[in-house]
Symmetry: D2
Subunit: 237 residues, 4 copies
């Protein structure tokens, strides 16, 4: 399984608070725990690389793509978004993290304006409750996962009904949020995972790392045979 | 539309706190606000009536059945449960309230041990967030509905994935709960609505009343043609 | 309820076989049976009108939009598609007919390349079986609906799992197809209905007309309150 | 993974046509191809064994249970059904085959009278089309699977909407049917697979065998942590 971790990589260069938490960028932190979990083929890509680091060669060999973005969604060219989109339909797994909800690629795959939600940066406590039991993504996770401080997202979240709803968050300010959602599009699976604001060390939490490793396994395609679309002769006379 | 409101009617006779809130029983409070909303054909039935008040005549003419029970689920005879079940499959709407989650009829229609959830009587605040927009059941309801004090229910709730997830609750003690769920079974629609503990005046809240009136409209069958099951001749030669 | 019926209106002007069936265009046939069913406010719009006939004034007052297109999907400007998309998210109902599966607007709302399916113009018999019982869209429809001759569409159909699967078609050549699908996007409901090739008189069939009238009722929004997205103060302290 | 293949084992003893196809019973044919596929721990159980062969010891060590029954559903004691049901909710995978749709256990897990469908023994051709792409159960299966002669089942099939709809069948007599359905109940996954009438050699077909091996893998539980239900202290103060 080849994993590519994509990050817009802005906050970590400009904001000392963020740099202190993710000195090499969120992408390198994620790549590191994936490698430590035994995934050998993990690379990273960022917005400022040529073609956003997502060349045809990279995309065509990627089985699972992680995506973190926040303030520069608009700077990802539409051609790159289209290529990622086609790869997902063709079977590449996609894991969209936190503010990636407002990315062009998530928007395009959902069919709704996924920027729509309530939010607040107030370091609320977040408790993620497991809604679907015995799912591969929540393997070895307790019935809840507590994060002491996170940005708050609140419903209504402008997504289509997910194919699988795995996690719902509670926030101390009074909100709830569908924080772990699987969407199936064509041959590809997308997992949206809410936590991961840049000013808190969420991706350093072992349970979060475990869950994201599980997610990579889950969204990786089963390798079924592709379909021939288009004109078709009758099967029977 | 003929509505029957069923209640086990125990707490209200035995507990002065409950009697103070629902002097004629929860069923009469519900029947009253339904009538005031313009539904003319509303009757009530309780556990201690002959056949639990759910005779063939009553059931066969009922379009929507409300169900509140708590401590005497086991006293509803299986034959009555079977009749209600068959009526739901045939198109009768069913609205299961609060502790009715552990009733025989809800259990039987869900296919899981719906008694499974976390709970606590600690008068937490409950905030119900609307998850699906523009649904008939949440018509004229704000984006959230706040109840100052309620019993707490928490996930995991041992139900199948609902066909429609309309409401998710937040509780001040840290829990979340799928509080408004539509299930479709055969020709019938079931709406589960979480709030309504006997020691708090939830069914006197105007927004709750409005939502339950909307729900009655929604689960009432569309009147489509029934299907012939069993042996069938080929449609084409 | 204000209904607008949109049609690219090409085949009917260029192909005598089509003109014989729909002399004033598919849109006028649909508008006519809607009016005869009692909908008073029905207008039509076509591709060659200024702004495709979908001005802001038209769109903003439309409750339900029918969409038929086939060979000129690419000629609908992206700005028009974006406006229709925003109206659907805001609550306008959309009924996508037959080859409209490949339209820009359906593609955008689904989040997949909805052009993907098998097809064949061989005048197969089509039998549409009702999958979900007692749904408002199939009210007064028998357990199946037979169309003597239609274009064939076959699975796999490259759509996300519909929120409601109402009809599955059988074709004499050996194919099946998800022919009646409801998708919910934001505050809007979309109904995709497969039959309606331009060379066969499908929209003259009374059962098809009845079903499409039902569909117009169903996708028309419930009128619930809109949500405020964006920054939000805590609900509790 | 420990697999138990359960069969009522009646037709094969009483009907020479069936005996010719499945001389040791359908269960032994299924067990054989599972063992040949590399599953080492496969046992069988039949109706006439003590406790139907489903003792506590057998059930508690079974990860995946296959179920074939037809004419003696009523002879499976309710206590056995209850034990199987509890094991599924606790995480055991269940694969219900063909006429097992009318079994007590499938009925109980679905929450509907799953006996409801159309049927005909006329040796129709059946074509199973793959509806969900890239699913583990259809790995290495073509876009359709053709069975020359089978019993016909037709919609409407009285099941709740499946959590995953994988296969839809076409029959030469004009019917369609949801033939491959995943239901999730508690911690358990159930896969219903339609083909397998006793008078035709369906379970000898390599593609069917491959698909059922895939299904055994898929319904086998992920091994996530169980939940504590019941009274719960607040998570936050």
């Amino acid at each position: 399984m080849k994993i590519t971790v994509w990050n817009e990589f802005c906050h970590e260069k400009e904001d000392d608070r963020v740099k202190a938490i993710y000195p090499d960028g969120i992408h390198e932190t994620i790549a590191k725990f994936l490698r430590e979990a035994g995934y050998e083929d993990v690379t990273t890509a960022t917005l400022d690389m040529p073609e956003c680091g997502l060349t045809d060669e990279v995309l065509n060999s990627t089985d699972v793509l992680f995506w973190w973005g926040h303030v520069r969604h608009g700077d990802v060219p539409d051609e790159i978004v289209e290529k990622v989109y086609q790869r997902v339909l063709a079977g590449m797994g996609l894991i969209v993290l936190h503010s990636g909800h407002a990315s062009k690629i998530f928007h395009k795959l959902c069919g709704t304006d996924t920027v729509g939600l309530k939010w607040r940066e107030s370091n609320d406590k977040e408790i993620l409750w497991v809604i679907e039991q015995n799912h591969p993504i929540t393997k070895d996770i307790d019935d809840k996962l507590i994060i002491e401080h996170e940005e708050t997202y609140g419903e209504h979240f402008l997504i289509p009904q997910p194919d699988e709803l795995l996690l719902v968050s509670w926030f101390s300010g009074g909100e709830v949020f569908r924080s772990g959602c699987v969407f199936k599009r064509g041959r590809g699976k997308i997992f949206y995972f809410r936590p991961g604001h840049e000013t808190v060390p969420t991706y350093h939490i072992p349970e979060v790392q475990k869950l994201l490793c599980n997610a990579a396994e889950y969204v990786c395609g089963a390798g079924s045979k592709p379909v021939n679309y288009g004109w078709a002769a009758p099967v029977v006379e």
